[in-house]
C-alpha cells in the first residue's frame, strides 16, 4: 500500500508536536489499560455500574436478532433429522419405553418421599426461583464462555446466583445490569462447580476447559472412579449452587482425567431459570459469614467455601 509518509509531517513544528503528542497519549493509554486490567484481575466486580450500563444497552441488539440465528441454526438440524428418520424412530421408541418404566418407578418413589417428609414434618422448599429469562447470546470471539441473559437486577438477579435450564446447570451470574446480566457458563475455564456422582456420591470439582467440555477433578487421590455415561449433579458444597442439579455426563477420558459434556447444551439454550444463592453467606466475604455453618449436604473433603465462587 501507500508508503506512510505522514509519520514525519514535514518541517512544521506544530505538526511534529501533534504526532509526538499522539504517541504520548497512546503510551499513556497503554499504561491506563494495564491499570484497568490489574483492577479487573484483582476485583472482577470493579466498574460494575459501567459494565452493567453497557450490558443494558447492548443486550437488546442480541435479543432482537436472536430469532434469525435460531432459525439458521435449526435448518441444518432439521435436514439431518429428515435423513435419520428411520433409525431415529426406532431409537426413540426404545427410549420412550425406558422412560415410561423410569417414570413409573419415580412416581412410586415420589409418593414414598412425600409420605416420609410428612412423617418428618418437613416442608419442601420450592420458591427458590428468582426469575425466568432468555439467553440472548454469548461471547464467541473470546476464549471465555460468557452468555448474556435478558434479565437484570430489576428482576432480582444478583451476581453469584445459579442459572439453570430444565435440563441442567447452565452457569452462574457474573455481573448484572438493570435489564440484562452476564452469565459464566459451566464450560468456561474460570468456572468450577462442586459436583458429586449421581451413582454413588463421589465428590469432584467440575472445571470448564473453554472448548465446550468440562474436566472432572477428584478430591481424593487414587483410581479414577468415573465411567463413561456417569451423570454428575451439583453437591451444594460451597453454598452457591443448590444441590442435585444435573451438570455433566462423562463422555471420555484424556489421560487420567475424566472429560464430560454439559447436560444443558449451551448452543440450544433458550429459557433459563435464575435461582437464589443456596446459602447466601457463601457469596459474602469470609469474615462476615455466621459462625457454625450447617454441615454440607454431602460428607466430603470440603474445598474452601468461597473459592468456588471467588475465582473468575
Amino acid at each position: 500500500m501507500a508508503p506512510p509518509g505522514k509519520r514525519r509531517p514535514g518541517f512544521s513544528r506544530r505538526a511534529q508536536y501533534g504526532v509526538f503528542l499522539g504517541y504520548v497519549v497512546a503510551v499513556g493509554g497503554v499504561i491506563l489499560a494495564v491499570v484497568l486490567l490489574a483492577i479487573a484481575i484483582i476485583d472482577p466486580k470493579g466498574f460494575a455500574a459501567l459494565r452493567g450500563l453497557a450490558l443494558d444497552i447492548t443486550a437488546p441488539i442480541s435479543s432482537a436478532t436472536r430469532s434469525v440465528a435460531t432459525f439458521v441454526g435449526g435448518v441444518g438440524e432439521g435436514i439431518s433429522d429428515y435423513f435419520r428418520a428411520g433409525s431415529q424412530n426406532a431409537g426413540l421408541r426404545q427410549q420412550l419405553a425406558e422412560a415410561q418404566r423410569e417414570s413409573n418407578r419415580r412416581q412410586a418413589l415420589e409418593h414414598e418421599n412425600r409420605r416420609l417428609n410428612a412423617l418428618l414434618g418437613l416442608a419442601r422448599q420450592t420458591d427458590d426461583e428468582v426469575t425466568v429469562a432468555r439467553i440472548v447470546g454469548s461471547t464467541f470471539e473470546a476464549p471465555r464462555r460468557l452468555a448474556t441473559l435478558s434479565a437484570g437486577s430489576a428482576a432480582g438477579v444478583a451476581p453469584g446466583q445459579a442459572v439453570r435450564s430444565p435440563d441442567g446447570l447452565i452457569g452462574r451470574v457474573l455481573e448484572t445490569g438493570q435489564w440484562a446480566s452476564r452469565v459464566i457458563l459451566v464450560t468456561d475455564a474460570g468456572s468450577n462447580v462442586p459436583v458429586r456422582m449421581a451413582r454413588d456420591g463421589t465428590p469432584a470439582l467440575a472445571v470448564g476447559r473453554g472448548d465446550g467440555t468440562i474436566e472432572l477433578r477428584t478430591l481424593e487421590v487414587g483410581q479414577n472412579p468415573f465411567r463413561r455415561g456417569d451423570l454428575l449433579v451439583t453437591s451444594g458444597i460451597g453454598g452457591l449452587y443448590p444441590p442435585n442439579i444435573p451438570v455433566l455426563v462423562v463422555t471420555g477420558f484424556v489421560g487420567e482425567r475424566a472429560i464430560g459434556r454439559p447436560v444443558a447444551d449451551p448452543a440450544r439454550l433458550d429459557y433459563a431459570i435464575v435461582q437464589r444463592i443456596y446459602q447466601p453467606a457463601a457469596a459474602g466475604p469470609l469474615d462476615r459469614a455466621p459462625p457454625g455453618q450447617p454441615a454440607p449436604p454431602v460428607a466430603a473433603p470440603t474445598p474452601a467455601p468461597a473459592a468456588a465462587g471467588a475465582r473468575r
Binding site: 442480541s62 436478532t65 464467541f140 470471539e141 452476564r182 476447559r209 448452543a267 475465582r311
Partner: protein, 171 residues
C-alpha cells in the same frame, strides 16, 4: 449518483462520509460480537480487530495509535471482555505497526498480510495470557483455530475495506 454535489447539505454529507466511514465500519464490526451466536468452542475470528487492523494497514495515514485506545474501550464494553484488554492489545498493535512502518517503508499486499498475521498472533497470545491471569486456564491449542481462520480471512477483510474505502472517496 451525480459526481458534482448539488447543494451544501450534499457536500456536508459527503464530507461526513469521507471522515467517518472507517470509524463507523469498525464500530459495526465490533458490534458483530453481539450477534446471538452461542458457540461452544472458539473458532470465529474477532471481526472488530480484523477490520481495525485492515483499515490501519490499508490507510496508515487516517488513524494514529490513540484511536485504537478509544475503539478498544468501546470493544471491551460491548463484548464483555475484561476492561482494558482490547485497549491494551489494540494500542500495542498500533504502536508496533507504526514502528514496522518506520522500518519497512513501502509495503505490498503480501507484506500487509504477514503483518496482519503477526498482529493476530500477538492479539491471540495476549488474550490467552490475560485469561490465564484471570484464573481461566485454557489450553493454548484452543486459540489456534481462531488464529488460523483470522489469518485466512484477512484477504476478505481487505476486500471489504477496499470497497468501503472506494465508496468513501467517490465524488
Amino acid at each position: 449518483m451525480s459526481r458534482i454535489a448539488g447543494s451544501e447539505t450534499e457536500v456536508a454529507i459527503r464530507d461526513l462520509r469521507r471522515r467517518f466511514v472507517p470509524l463507523a465500519s469498525t464500530i459495526v464490526a465490533i458490534m458483530m460480537s453481539l450477534l446471538p451466536i452461542v458457540a461452544s468452542t472458539l473458532w470465529i475470528p474477532n471481526i472488530g480487530f480484523l477490520i481495525l487492523i485492515t483499515w490501519r494497514l490499508m490507510r496508515p495515514e487516517i488513524w494514529s495509535a490513540q484511536v485504537a485506545l478509544g475503539l478498544g474501550f468501546a470493544a471491551d464494553l460491548i463484548s464483555g471482555a475484561p476492561l482494558g484488554q482490547s485497549m491494551l492489545l489494540w494500542t500495542l498493535v498500533f504502536l508496533g505497526l507504526d514502528y514496522a512502518d518506520s522500518l519497512l517503508g513501502e509495503r505490498d499486499y503480501w507484506l500487509d498480510w504477514l503483518l496482519a498475521a503477526a498482529a493476530c498472533a500477538f492479539h491471540s497470545a495476549g488474550i490467552w495470557v490475560i485469561a490465564l491471569l484471570m484464573g481461566a486456564e485454557i489450553s493454548p491449542w484452543l486459540m489456534v483455530p481462531q488464529l488460523c481462520l483470522a489469518i485466512l480471512s484477512y484477504p476478505l477483510a481487505a476486500r471489504i475495506v477496499l470497497r468501503l474505502d472506494r465508496w468513501r472517496l467517490t465524488r
